[in-house]
């Protein structure tokens, strides 16, 4: 935080420009320190921590279940993905199987999250490059997705809907109809976005060949998610290390070989379409059954049984007041969040609170690719580059 670039001796003519934290196109409170020769970026350095909240410390003082609410606030554009990663990590620790309906619902909702997150990215990325209408179109559509979230969890953004062992609540009746509406209408909306941008010559000029990063470099600096796939690496955890029964769904992993801003744009837009495919499959194939695993000492009982069964009441009391005791051990659970590999490293010492919980935030890693992308480009390209790796500062600073 608050680092500076020292001028290289002999190059005093170069200007050191601080971009951010209060800058419209750094997507939050990211600060870049640029060394400019004229308008060309020679070196760059990112400076973060303006949103640092110490979540990793907080986890250690909360029970496993309480921790879920913190995860919402990390990648605030994809809260359900964070929930999922966190719950999956604990479930792995506990070796807990969750029922298919919960799995399907989780897939459906995280994919909707992905779409919503990509929409925000598309809108802000476009407005960075000056296409302001795009932003509002994207937010209009995102609104509908947020309504679904609100419907199932009562919250638009800080959902905390996934719980260890399943879902928090039974989704309301008719929610799938709403989902269907979105899924039916969406492809043509995506066409609309593409009509505005994909072949627009100005857009092409601003993005093609800009912020190029090779596959080797991308892997070396730890890029993941669409940013990595934009460099031609076919890597998607949903395919390669399936979790939450993603292996039962049929979808493609779009990649582009160019590695420039445009490639990442195309990959994300294609991902929106793929996610919609998954949502449709999840919606149509949604199995019937319970939404929680049958593990009474871990999963909270539903209200009905709590009121009728003394056992349930005791479990409830134990879980709420003390929490559950996972075995001693450590796991690393990664999922494919909209931004890339979101990993939770959970160390348990047998107590009801995590001994250590570390979040491998995709944006944090992706940020490291930025310097490479911007080197030798103009300031205006820097803006396009930042937009193209789609960072969320909440997740970076944690």
């Amino acid at each position: 935080m608050a680092v500076t670039l020292e001028k290289i001796p002999g190059q005093e003519e170069r200007v050191i420009l601080s971009m951010g934290p209060q800058h419209p196109s750094t997507h939050g409170v990211l600060r870049l320190v640029l060394e400019l020769d004229g308008e060309t970026v020679i070196r760059s350095l990112f400076d973060i921590g303006y949103l640092h909240t110490g979540f990793e410390k907080s986890f250690e003082d909360k029970t496993y279940s309480q921790g879920i609410t913190l995860t919402d606030r990390m990648d605030y554009l994809a809260p359900l993905s964070n929930n999922l990663a966190y719950c999956l990590a604990i479930e792995k620790l506990l070796e807990l199987e969750i029922p298919p309906k919960a799995q399907w619902a989780r897939v459906l909702l995280t994919e909707l999250t992905r779409v919503g997150s990509h929409l925000v990215w598309l809108g802000t990325h476009a407005i960075d490059i000056g296409a302001m209408s795009m932003f509002l179109y994207c937010f209009r559509e995102r609104e509908e997705i947020l309504r679904i979230f609100e419907m199932v969890s009562g919250q638009r953004m800080m959902t905390s809907y996934f719980r260890v062992g399943g879902l928090a609540l039974e989704p309301p009746l008719g929610w799938l109809d709403r989902v269907k509406k979105i899924v039916d209408r969406f492809p043509e909306r995506v066409d609309e976005y593409e009509a505005l941008l994909t072949k627009n010559p100005i857009w092409l000029r601003r993005t093609q060949g800009v912020g190029t990063i090779s596959a080797e470099d991308a892997i070396a600096v730890g890029l993941s998610g669409p940013s990595l796939r934009g460099s031609g690496v076919d890597w998607d955890l949903r395919k390669k290390q399936p979790y939450s029964s993603y292996d039962k769904f049929n979808f493609n992993v779009p990649t582009r070989p160019e590695g420039d801003v445009y490639a990442r744009y195309l990959v994300r837009v294609a991902e929106i379409r793929e996610s919609l495919k998954i949502v449709r499959q999840a919606m149509e194939g949604m199995p019937e059954g319970p939404i929680k695993a049958n593990a009474p000492h871990i999963v909270l009982p539903d209200r009905e049984s709590m009121k009728t069964s003394i056992e349930a009441l005791i479990y409830h009391f134990k879980i709420v007041t003390e929490g559950f005791h996972p075995p001693v051990g450590e796991v690393y659970q990664a999922i494919e969040s909209p931004r890339g590999e979101l990993g939770i490293y959970m160390v348990s010492d047998g107590s009801p609170k995590p001994f250590r919980c570390h979040v491998r935030a995709p944006s944090f890693a992706n940020l490291q690719g930025l310097a490479k992308m911007m080197e030798g480009r103009l300031i205006a390209d820097a803006v396009a580059c930042i937009g193209s790796i789609d960072v969320v500062l909440g997740e970076i600073d944690r």
């Binding site: 608050a2 500076t4 934290p21 600060r31 004229g38 060309t40 103009l378």
Partner: protein, 119 residues
């Protein structure tokens, strides 16, 4: 002086008065609660580093210079265009020659890279 020019002088006077009045008014009416942070130059919320009036790329000068020279050309074109119907082919060749000579310079600066900003 023709009446047209006098009218324009009146108009100029009116506009100048209007702008001055607006500016004066806003300075007079607007609240003033200055603080040190408010009055510091914008640098994305960070303490400014170095003097803002640093030197900038020479390309700006080049553009200004090219502008002057082509502006002169343009200035010749206006009277030429106005009397063009009387000059006909003579005017055409005259200007063709003129433009071609300038075009040589134009091509030169193009090749020289003076028009490239993304070096």
């Amino acid at each position: 002086m023709e009446s047209g020019y006098l009218t324009i002088l009146i108009y100029i006077g009116a506009v100048v008065f209007l702008s001055a009045a607006i500016l004066g008014m806003s300075a007079w009416v607007g609240v003033k609660r200055p603080t040190r942070e408010k009055l510091s130059p914008y640098e994305c919320g960070i303490q400014p580093v170095g003097d803002a009036r640093e030197r900038f790329s020479i390309s700006f000068y080049l553009v200004g210079m090219l502008f002057i020279l082509f502006d002169v050309e343009a200035v010749f074109l206006y009277p030429w265009a106005v009397v063009y119907k009387e000059l006909k082919w003579f005017g055409f060749t005259e200007m063709l020659l003129y433009i071609l000579i300038l075009l040589a310079g134009y091509v030169y600066i193009w090749k020289k890279g003076a028009l490239d900003w993304s070096r």
